[in-house]
């Protein structure tokens, strides 16, 4: 029987290693897998490369991971926010490397990784600082910038409901990066509100098919199927 359910968030992240690259879902706090990040902090692995849209908000989640000094590099589109003080401090101290990517390039590069592309010519960033040193090409009268896929060893994402095969649904705008990060990591770990029995998710509404998910942890309840 395929059962991707992990006993706990701690068990789910137990093999995340020093120096790993980790995608973390969420746009700000919406869709951020806080329980998994707490477990990752407790686990202690450092020197991490984090891929997220932001660079942490306030004191929890990614901000706490940065505060704990575990992040060596961050790839994101929008680090500077009113409440990104932990990132700001580490960055100004030269303790975190920043790779800034336009949000659409970030999304497209993650999607390209999941889909097995080698590189993409993207329309965004041409003629700007963020394309400096990158290959450009005119195609059908328009300039494009060559960008490479972003893969990761792990993806930590937050979904709404899931089942033991790893099928996932999301909730409102917390969906954001979850579906594409799930496809781009070697090991995707999903934190869900509830694990439901196999078959409880309508096959038409599954957003992330289980093939893209290796482990699933419920922060709410787990309903076992009778099978």
């Amino acid at each position: 029987m395929i059962d991707k359910t992990a006993a706990s968030a701690e068990a789910a992240v137990a093999d995340i290693f020093e120096g790993a690259s980790i995608m973390i879902g969420g746009f700000g706090l919406a869709g951020m897998p806080s329980r998994l990040i707490d477990a990752l902090i407790a686990r202690g692995a450092g020197g991490l490369t984090i891929i997220n849209n932001n660079a942490g908000n306030g004191e929890t989640g990614l901000a706490a991971l940065i505060k704990a000094g575990r992040v060596r590099k961050i790839i994101c589109s929008f680090p500077r926010q009113t409440d990104s003080h932990h990132f700001d401090a580490r960055y100004r101290a030269g303790e975190i490397e920043l790779e800034l990517a336009p949000q659409g390039n970030l999304a497209a590069r993650i999607q390209a990784a999941g889909a097995g592309l080698g590189a993409i010519f993207t329309p965004t960033g041409n003629g700007t600082l963020l394309a400096e040193g990158k290959e450009t090409r005119e195609i059908a009268g328009r300039q494009y910038v060559l960008e490479y896929p972003i893969r990761a060893d792990f993806a930590l994402i937050k979904a709404h409901k899931g089942d033991r095969w790893g099928n996932l649904t999301y909730r409102k705008s917390a969906r954001n990066f979850g579906p594409i990060m799930a496809m781009a990591a070697t090991c995707t770990i999903a934190e869900v509100s509830e694990i439901v029995p196999l078959g409880a998710l309508d096959p038409e509404i599954v957003v992330t098919p289980g093939i893209f998910v290796q482990r699933i942890v419920a922060v709410g309840g787990v309903q076992r199927d009778d099978a």
Partner: protein
């Protein structure tokens, strides 16, 4: 001479957004436009974090942390709206499906180059978000800004000195004193607010301007 308030500027932009348009409003000043969209028009707001058909802020106490806008403020979803992931959201922008985006700016050049993401100060922490994608992806990019900085410098320039967001991407600028249409031919003045003369406007803007008020009225553009 009377300059438009921020609310008046938002009202003016809203007038130019037609029924059925798919629109993305940038963070800050452009967000005000939502308040002035004519109620008799169905206009769909897209939010880069994965919403189409974004509605106003919820009543106090009914906020949902999973339903936010690009500025991370709580919002609602209109009947008929929907959710999608980041790659689809940016496909909407980059694939040319968004009709209009409205952005703020530090500087815009007369040919439509935009600078709105980075002050260029050496100690600034850069952050770009979806600005570059919106600027070059929407069918039309509108900029909404005061014409002058607090120091009195024109933000409509011949060449941007701040780091660029996108090249030749802005088609219109809505300012507190005038509306400009931009393009390869330079900056054309579409309308002037209050009692300001064309000459006085040109003196403020300090870039070559073309008076297109008569011709644009005639063609209805």
């Amino acid at each position: 001479m009377s300059r438009l308030s921020r609310e008046d500027m938002a009202r003016r932009v809203a007038q130019d957004i037609p029924e059925g348009a798919y629109v993305n409003l940038g963070i800050g000043l452009p967000t005000l436009v939502a308040n002035y969209l004519p109620r008799d028009r169905e206009i769909l707001l897209q939010s880069e974090n994965g919403l189409l058909g974004m509605g106003p802020a919820p009543p106090k106490g009914q906020e949902d942390g999973d339903l936010i806008n690009a500025g991370k403020q709580p919002v609602t979803l209109l009947t008929g709206g929907c959710y999608f992931h980041q790659a689809d959201s940016f496909a909407m922008m980059r694939g040319g499906h968004i009709d209009i985006c409205v952005l703020g700016a530090f500087q815009v050049s007369t040919r439509g180059d935009l600078a709105n993401w980075h002050t260029g100060e050496p100690d600034a922490i850069p952050a770009v978000g979806g600005a570059m994608d919106l600027a070059i992806g929407a069918k039309q990019t509108f900029v909404m800004m005061e014409l002058l900085t607090k120091q009195g410098a024109s933000k409509l320039v011949e060449t941007c000195t701040f780091p660029l967001t996108g090249l030749a991407c802005v088609s219109r600028i809505y300012t507190d004193v005038a509306v400009f249409a931009l393009g390869a031919g330079g900056a054309r003045v579409v309308e002037i607010a209050g009692g300001l003369s064309f000459e006085a406007l040109a003196d403020m803007a300090r870039v070559p301007l073309i008076d297109a008020r008569a011709s644009l009225r005639e063609t209805g553009a």
